[in-house]
C-alpha cells in the first residue's frame, strides 16, 4: 500500500478525462511551438514553456489524486491549462491568438492562489481575497485595455497577427498600459511576499515544517518574476536570462506542492524510526517525545482513556479534558482491537497529513496501550491519595462537630445542673444531712465536668479552630509535662486539616517525650513557607522510638502522608528522638 487515498470510480473517471484533456492541451502547445512562424521571439524557448506546463499539470494531477478534498491540486491543473492556453499566442488564427494574449497573465494569478491557500486549499483572510481580486483585476483589465490600442507588435513583434480587440493603432499607448500593469504586478508580488513572510513568522513549528518547501520555491519564483518584470521595464539589459530563471523557478513550485502532499509516503521513514525507538525500554515522557519527533510537533500531548471511569487522564493519572474543536488544538483518537485507548492532541496543521498521524498512532498503539495501563494505575493511586485525604478531612470535620456538640449540649446541660445543685445547696438548712450530700454531688459533678473539658480539648482544641496553629502550639507547649522551648515561624492561617495534622503531631510527640523518652527538655519548631509547613519536635532522651507496629507514631505518619506530606523519625539510641513532619500547603 502506497498510502494513496482510495479512489472512487467517478473520481477515477474525472481524473482520466482531465488527464486526456491535459495531454491534448500539451500536444497542442508542442505543435504550436514547433510550427511558430519565423521571426517570433523564441525566448525562453518552447522546451522550457512545455516543462512548466507539464510540471503544473502533472504535479497538479498527482496532488489532486492524493488529496481530492484539497483544492490546491485542482488549482494547479487549471493553472496548467491556462499555461498551455497562453501558448495560443503562437497561433496564426486571429481569434486563437487574441485569446492567448488576453489570458497570458492569468497563470500568475493561479500561482498566487496556490501560495496563499497552501496547504489547506482555502483562502483564510480578507487580505488574501483582496490581493487575488486586485491581481486578477489589474493583470486582466490592464491587459485588455492595452489590447485596445495594439497587439504584440506593440511589444516588439512586427510579424504578429492582429488581435481582434484592437480599435486604435497606437503602440505607444499600448506599451504605456502594459507598463502600468507591470508596475502594479511588482507591487502586488512584493505585497504577497510580505504576507507570506508575516504568516511564516506567526506559524507553529509543525506548520512551518509543512509549508517550508512550497514557501521557499514560491518566494524564489515570485522574486524571479519580479526580476523579469523589472528587467522588461528598464529596457531588457539582461536579455532573456531573468525570464529563463523565472520559468525554471515556476517549474519547481508544483513539484514542491506534490512533495508535501505525498510526504506521508516519505514519512514512512519516520514511522519506521518510531517503531525501532519504541522497541527499547521507554517511559511515558519518552513515548510523548518520540511521537512528537515522528510527527514534527513539539507541542504534542497524550491522553489515555479509562473505560471504567469514562474519563481521560494524562501520563501521571491526573484527569484531563480534551480540547474543543475551536480551541486551536486537534485530537486524533487511537484504537486497538476496537477499543479506544488514547488520544493524541496535536497541532491542527497535522490534520492535512491525517494519513501520517494514523500510521504513527498505529505504530505506537501497543506502547500506548501499555502506557494507558500504567496511567490507569497512576490514576487509581491519585484517587487513593485523594480518598485518604478525604478520610482525614472527614475525621477532622467529625472531631469539630463532636467538640461543638459536647460544648453546646452535654457540657452546658451539666453546668446548668451544677448551678441548680448550687441553688439547692444554698437553700438547704446548714444543720441537716442533706446539705453535705448535695455539696458532695456538686463537687463530683465539677470533677466530671473537668474531665469532660479535658476530653473535648483532646478531641479538638477550641483554640486551634479559633486562633490557629501558632496560638494552639503555644498553649500546648505551656501545658506540656516537660519544659518545652517553642520556636514559631508561622505567618498565616493554613487549611484546617493541615493545622490539625501539625497540631496532633506535636501533641503526640510531646506526650511520647514525657512518657517514654526519659528526657529533661523538648524543643518544638514550627515553620512554613510558600509550599509547605514543617513541625519538628526533638527531645534529649534515650531515643529508640520507631513507627513500626501499632504505635501512635504510625497513626501520625498515616495522617501526614494522607495529606501528601512526609513523616520521619530519627531516634538513635542514647541520642534523643526527633520527629519531623512536612506537609505541603500550596
Amino acid at each position: 500500500m502506497l498510502g494513496f487515498a482510495p479512489q472512487s470510480p467517478p473520481m477515477k473517471a474525472k481524473l482520466s478525462v482531465v488527464a486526456v484533456a491535459g495531454l491534448l492541451a500539451g500536444a497542442g502547445a508542442v505543435w504550436l511551438a514547433a510550427h511558430q512562424p519565423y521571426g517570433r521571439p523564441t525566448e525562453p524557448g518552447p522546451v522550457l514553456e512545455l516543462l512548466v506546463g507539464v510540471s503544473l499539470f502533472g504535479c497538479g494531477l498527482a496532488s489532486w489524486r492524493a488529496r481530492p478534498e484539497n483544492r490546491v491540486g485542482l488549482i494547479m491543473v487549471l493553472t496548467g491549462f491556462a499555461w498551455f492556453a497562453a501558448q495560443l499566442i503562437e497561433a496564426s488564427a486571429p481569434w486563437l491568438y487574441t485569446t492567448g494574449l488576453a489570458i497570458q497573465s492569468v497563470c500568475v494569478i493561479g500561482l498566487l492562489y496556490m501560495l496563499l491557500s497552501f496547504p489547506s486549499g482555502r483562502l483564510t483572510g480578507r487580505s488574501d481575497r483582496w490581493l487575488l481580486r486586485l491581481g486578477l483585476g489589474t493583470t486582466l483589465g490592464l491587459q485588455l485595455l492595452a489590447m485596445l490600442y495594439g497587439n504584440r507588435s506593440g511589444v516588439g513583434c512586427p510579424s504578429c497577427t492582429n488581435n481582434l480587440l484592437q480599435v486604435v493603432h497606437d503602440n505607444h499607448k499600448a506599451r504605456g498600459w502594459l507598463g502600468l500593469r507591470d508596475l502594479f504586478g511588482v507591487v502586488l508580488l512584493l505585497g504577497l511576499i510580505g504576507l507570506l513572510g508575516r504568516r511564516w513568522s506567526r506559524a507553529s513549528a509543525p506548520q512551518r515544517r509543512a509549508v517550508l518547501p512550497v514557501l521557499v520555491t514560491g518566494c524564489a519564483t515570485l522574486a524571479a518574476l519580479i526580476g523579469d518584470i523589472v528587467n522588461d521595464l528598464i529596457g531588457d539589459p539582461l536579455g532573456a536570462l531573468p525570464a529563463n530563471v523565472w520559468f525554471y523557478a515556476m517549474a519547481t513550485v508544483p513539484v514542491a506542492v506534490m512533495f508535501v502532499f505525498l510526504q506521508r509516503r516519505l514519512a514512512r521513514g519516520s514511522v519506521a524510526g518510531l517503531v525501532v525507538e519504541l522497541g527499547g525500554p521507554s517511559t511515558s515522557a519518552d513515548l510523548r517525545s518520540a511521537l512528537a519527533r515522528a510527527l514534527g510537533d513539539p507541542s504534542l500531548q497524550l491522553a489515555y482513556w479509562l473505560p471504567a471511569d469514562e474519563a481521560w487522564v494524562d501520563g501521571e493519572g491526573t484527569s484531563v479534558t480534551l480540547p474543543d474543536a475551536d480551541s486551536g488544538r486537534s485530537s486524533t483518537f487511537v484504537e486497538r482491537d476496537g477499543q479506544r485507548i488514547a488520544a493524541v492532541l496535536h497541532d491542527p496543521v497535522l490534520e492535512h497529513n491525517a494519513e501520517l498521524v494514523r500510521s504513527v498512532c498505529a505504530a505506537a498503539s501497543l506502547t500506548l496501550e501499555n502506557e494507558r495501563l500504567q496511567a490507569e494505575l497512576r490514576a487509581r493511586l491519585v484517587e487513593l491519595q485523594a480518598s485518604r485525604a478525604r478520610l482525614v478531612e472527614a475525621t477532622d470535620v467529625e472531631r469539630r462537630r463532636i467538640e461543638r456538640d459536647l460544648h453546646d449540649g452535654t457540657q452546658q446541660r451539666l453546668v446548668s445542673i451544677a448551678m441548680s445543685l448550687g441553688l439547692l445547696e444554698s437553700r438547704l438548712p446548714t444543720q441537716g444531712t442533706a446539705k453535705p450530700l448535695v455539696h458532695e454531688t456538686r463537687e463530683a459533678l465539677a470533677l466530671a465536668l473537668a474531665e469532660l473539658r479535658e476530653l473535648t480539648h483532646g478531641i479538638n482544641p477550641p483554640l486551634l479552630t479559633e486562633q490557629g496553629l501558632a496560638a494552639a502550639l503555644d498553649e500546648l507547649c505551656r501545658r506540656a509535662a516537660l519544659p518545652t522551648h517553642l520556636e514559631l515561624a508561622l505567618d498565616r492561617r493554613l487549611p484546617d486539616q493541615i493545622e490539625s495534622a501539625a497540631y496532633f503531631v506535636t501533641s503526640e510527640a510531646l506526650t511520647n517525650a514525657a512518657k517514654h523518652s526519659h528526657g529533661t527538655e523538648v524543643s518544638v519548631l514550627a515553620s512554613c513557607d510558600a509550599r509547605s509547613v514543617t513541625v519538628e519536635v526533638a527531645d534529649n532522651g534515650i531515643g529508640g522510638a520507631t513507627t513500626a507496629g501499632g504505635s501512635g507514631l504510625r497513626g501520625l505518619a498515616d495522617r501526614v502522608e494522607a495529606l501528601g506530606g512526609h513523616f520521619t523519625v530519627s531516634s538513635p539510641p542514647g541520642r534523643g528522638t526527633t520527629l519531623r513532619a512536612e506537609i505541603p500547603c500550596a
Binding site: D408, Q411, Q412, V415, M419, S426, L463, P483
Partner: protein, 216 residues
Amino acid sequence: MRIALADDAVILREGLSRLLEEAGFDVVGLAADAEALLELVERTLPDVAIVDIRMPPTHTDEGLRAAKVIRERWPTVGLLVLSQHVNTRYALELLSAGTDGIGYLLKERVSDLDELSSSVTRVGQGGSVLDPAVVGELVGRRRQADNPLERLTDREREVLALMAEGRSNGAIAERLFITDHTVEKHVKNILGTLRLPQSPDDHRRVLAVITYLTSQ
C-alpha cells in the same frame, strides 16, 4: 450590687441569673449576644457585667471583644468573663490591659454560690479573679531546673497560686487555715525569691505575679 448578664444558652443564662439573685445580687438585665449586652450596659450602667466568652455569630471570642469595648467606654463597669474551656491565652489577653475589676472564671466554678458571690463582689470592688485552673497551668508548668520558681517550697507555691487567683492575704489565710501573719511571711519570701517589688496593695500584686508567671 447591680449585674448585667450575657450568655447565648438560655439554660445557663436563667440558671446563673437565679443563682445571682439567690446570692443577693440585683440582676438588671439579660442578653443573648454581644450587641444586646452593649445596649444593656449603656442603658443600665451596672456594677459588674458577666459575659460568656463564646457567643454568636462566630462562637469564638465575641465575649472577650465585647468586654474590651465595655472597658473602653464604661471603665467603671467590672467585668467577669466566663468560659467553658481553660484558655490561658484569652485569660491573659483579658488581663493584659490591667487587672482592676477584671475576672476570668470557668462556668462550672460559678455553681458554688459562695465562690460566685465572692468573685462577683471582688470584681465589683475593683479587684481581680483568675480561675484556679488557669493559675494551675501557669504555676504548674514545668520549667528548667535553674528557674527561680523551682526554688519555691510547696506551700509557697500554693500561696503564689492563690495570689494569682486574685485573693487577699486574709482570704489566703482562711483558705489554708493559717494566720495572716504566716501568709505575710510567705508572700514576702515569694516576692523576694522572684525579685518582685513588695507591694501592700493586693491588686497591684496580682498583675506583677501574673506578668512574672507568663514571662517564665
